[in-house]
């Protein structure tokens, strides 16, 4: 290998491109093509991409007094490539995780068997701020609560996939998955030429179909809508994008009204019935009658209509308890409990301090571990052992011993790297992956996902608010 990837040093990490190129001819071809690129030409294309994203409004908007300024999520034009074999593991793993999450949520709002059997401590669930007593005894179509799920996945130094977090409320970012692909087709057709990459364009149709599947069964051609908090929401672009891709109206709370136990939308022809709502609004804001009484973003009476089965809401109310850090630690057990299978995608090694073994291990290894508070009861903050002083560790030790059930601990995580354009070079930058799963009757996983990249050298923080960008994610056939 020579050219642009000369001297590329992945360090102690797994490299998404180079480590796969060794045994996959298609990945090797992509690496070869990248190596042969002229850096000035790459920079030129990167600039074009950023301008296009800005002009097309693939942006989030910052409002000031008299102006609205759009900002793009930085885009790196070097794709993150997953082989068919890697994807097979991810897809099965995500599917399994969604099945377990739905079974778990059904159980905690019905029989609570897993709590009674002692597999998950009851206070962790019932005392959780995201546990919704309003949901107890309610049956949702097909037992699906988490219709859209985003699972944050990282890769250790051996290339093993590990789940970092489940997002079972209103995960965002899928619009970038599809727009990044559209962008790559325009600015980098020569890289993709002749390489079979699985398409991502059907996401909107699949989501619309899932919403139609959960709509009241007696409606032949259900009206689906996307409920957005409106243009001031930082994810408004994604709401627009999804409404367009689904072919459904983007509504705000004021567009909807409850009358006669049904939900209606205000149209130029009068009130028209609504049967399924893909909401991008948190539980708290959905219905001022049930949750925050000061919410002006939601629809008064909506939850009552939902409970009557006259409208579907995705994701269901009360899923937040399942993607909480406290529950995350128990996910491998939850999977085993409901599905009698081992987790296909393991968690990052996690020690539950509420259990004697976990606490003993954590206390013995504090200087090596990251200790995080769980649930909404936090406020004591977390401690990063390797970065903490001796005094801080000593103070934290006392804190931990006083309230061990409030903590979990994990080793310092390592994220894989992917070649990323930095100036006129390709340098290793850390990435994660968020695949998206849609579930109506069955679960479908979008082949690919959002690859977030920490653009700063050495940084492990991929969040857009802290210097993160995104890449196109290619799943090879």
């Amino acid at each position: 290998m020579n050219g642009l990837l000369d001297g590329y040093n992945k360090g102690a990490f797994f490299c998404e491109l180079m480590d796969c190129a060794a045994h996959d001819p298609a990945v090797a071809l992509i690496a070869e093509r990248l190596a042969a690129m002229d850096p000035a030409e790459l920079e030129r294309r990167a600039r074009i991409a950023e301008i296009e994203l800005f002009n097309q409004g693939i942006t989030f908007t910052v409002y000031s007094d008299k102006d609205a300024i759009d900002r793009i999520l930085p885009f790196d034009l070097i794709p993150r490539v997953l082989t068919a074999r890697e994807w097979d593991v991810l897809e099965r793993g995500v599917r399994q995780r969604v099945a377990a999450l739905n079974a778990f949520i059904w159980d905690i709002y019905h029989d609570q068997k897993i709590l009674k059997d002692g597999f998950v401590p009851a206070p962790l669930v019932l005392g959780n701020a995201n546990y919704r007593p309003e949901m107890v005894g309610l049956n949702v179509p097909h037992g699906t609560y988490v219709h859209v799920c985003g699972v944050d996945i990282i890769r250790d130094e051996n290339g093993k996939f590990l789940v970092l977090e489940d997002n079972a409320r209103t995960p965002s970012g899928v619009s970038y998955v599809i727009e990044n692909r559209n962008m790559m087709r325009r600015i980098f057709p020569d890289l993709m030429d002749g390489i079979a990459v699985r398409p991502v364009g059907s996401y909107g149709m699949m989501l619309q179909a899932a919403l139609a599947e959960i709509a009241p069964a007696d409606v032949p051609d259900p009206q689906v809508v996307l409920l957005s908090p409106g243009i001031y929401n930082s994810a408004y672009f994604e709401h627009i994008f999804l409404a367009r891709e689904m072919g459904v109206p983007l509504v705000e709370g004021n567009d909807l009204v409850v009358q006669n136990d049904r939900v209606w939308m205000r149209t130029t022809a009068g009130l028209a019935p609504v049967h399924a709502i893909y909401r991008r609004l948190n539980d708290d804001f959905l219905d001022p009658d049930v949750f925050r009484p000061d919410s002006t973003l939601g629809v008064r009476g909506l939850i009552d209509v939902w409970r009557r089965g006259n409208v579907a809401i995705a994701n269901a109310v009360g899923t937040g308890v399942a993607d909480d850090k406290a529950i995350y630690a128990y996910m491998p057990r939850i999977i085993r409990y409901y599905l009698s299978e081992d987790a296909i995608l393991p968690n990052v090694e996690t020690h539950i301090c509420g259990e004697p073994g976990g606490l003993a291990y954590t206390l013995a290894n504090l200087e090596k571990l990251v200790v995080k508070p769980v649930g909404e009861s936090g406020g004591y903050g977390l401690i990063i052992g390797p970065h903490a002083t001796r005094d801080e560790i000593a103070a934290f030790r006392t804190q931990l011993q006083n309230d061990p059930a409030n903590y979990i601990s994990q080793p310092m995580i390592s994220l894989s790297v992917s070649p990323t354009l930095a100036g006129h070079k390709l340098l290793p930058r850390h990435v994660d992956l968020r695949p998206f799963a849609i579930t109506g009757r069955k679960t479908w996983v979008l082949p690919g996902g959002l690859t977030r990249v920490a653009l700063r050298e050495g940084s492990l923080v991929v969040n857009s608010s802290q210097g993160g960008g995104s890449k196109d994610t290619w799943v090879l056939e």
Partner: protein
Amino acid sequence: MNQSQSQSQDTVFHRNPLLLSRYAEALYWFARYMERIENLARILDVTDTFVRHGVDQSGWRSVIQINADEDRFTKLYGTANAENVARFYLVDRDNPTSILSSLFAARENARTLRPLISTEMWAQINVFYNRVRRLTEADAAPSRVSGLCAYFKEQCQAHAGIADGTFYRDQSWAFYCIGKYIERGDQTSRLVDIKYHTLLPSVDDVGSALDVSQWHALLRAASGYQAYRRINPSYMTPSSVAGFLLMNHSFPRSVTLCVRQIEYFLTQLSSGYGLRGAYAAQERLDELRAALMDQTIQQILARGLHEFLDWVQLQFIALQDAIAASFWRKLETTQSQSQAQ
């Protein structure tokens, strides 16, 4: 609403895509603001040219009058000269009638409409706005006004072209077009109202040689000069210019043509899309159309042009109110009622 009613409505809804009331309102205003920008750019451009050539000394003041901005302008800027007026209308973010403010409002409406409009339509106004918001006062200096106005017109025309080529022709298009033609008709009526009296020779001058170049300026401000010449090759009188701008059936910016377009699109709403809400607006419009069809310009002039145009402008306001009441404002009432229950 009982079950059978809602089922029969379902059938109607699925034949034609539903349109949220909020979208209808945003479409109407999106079009109005874009049309307003184009008209203002035309007037500023022509005024700049003719004041510069000493043809029309009242020019800058009348731009302010057309927009009914006398009080605000005088307080902020004082003298109505090229520099001040250009700055006030081109780049002053604090002036709600500036092109920058209208463009901001147009873009925020477009943002609401993004699920409905084409990506190209959004991208165009996005690029347009992002360039205009970076303009400085130096960009609005008198020597640059003409070039800047040309750019604004070109961008508005690009917008119109993209809309024409990409906008799905359902009821949303009708709301968009109604907004456009109400704004255009209103602008032309204001232009004639202000200019006619400024330019008309005093009673003492009647019969003296007419300074036709001022009437040229008026026609050019409405982009009607060439069309007027084509149909009136041998003469130019104040009444024929006013008649042309108000009542010509083929000139795209005449008040009559705008009214006929509005009528067409209201009929589309009521007959084509079965929206009974359009009836009230149609009745409103009948009156305005009759007033334009049933009189000659001479009769209007004899009865008082200013009074007539004042009435026309009030009719446009009443028309807008009727549309808003039927299609979006009424629904706010429904909402407050249902909240009171």
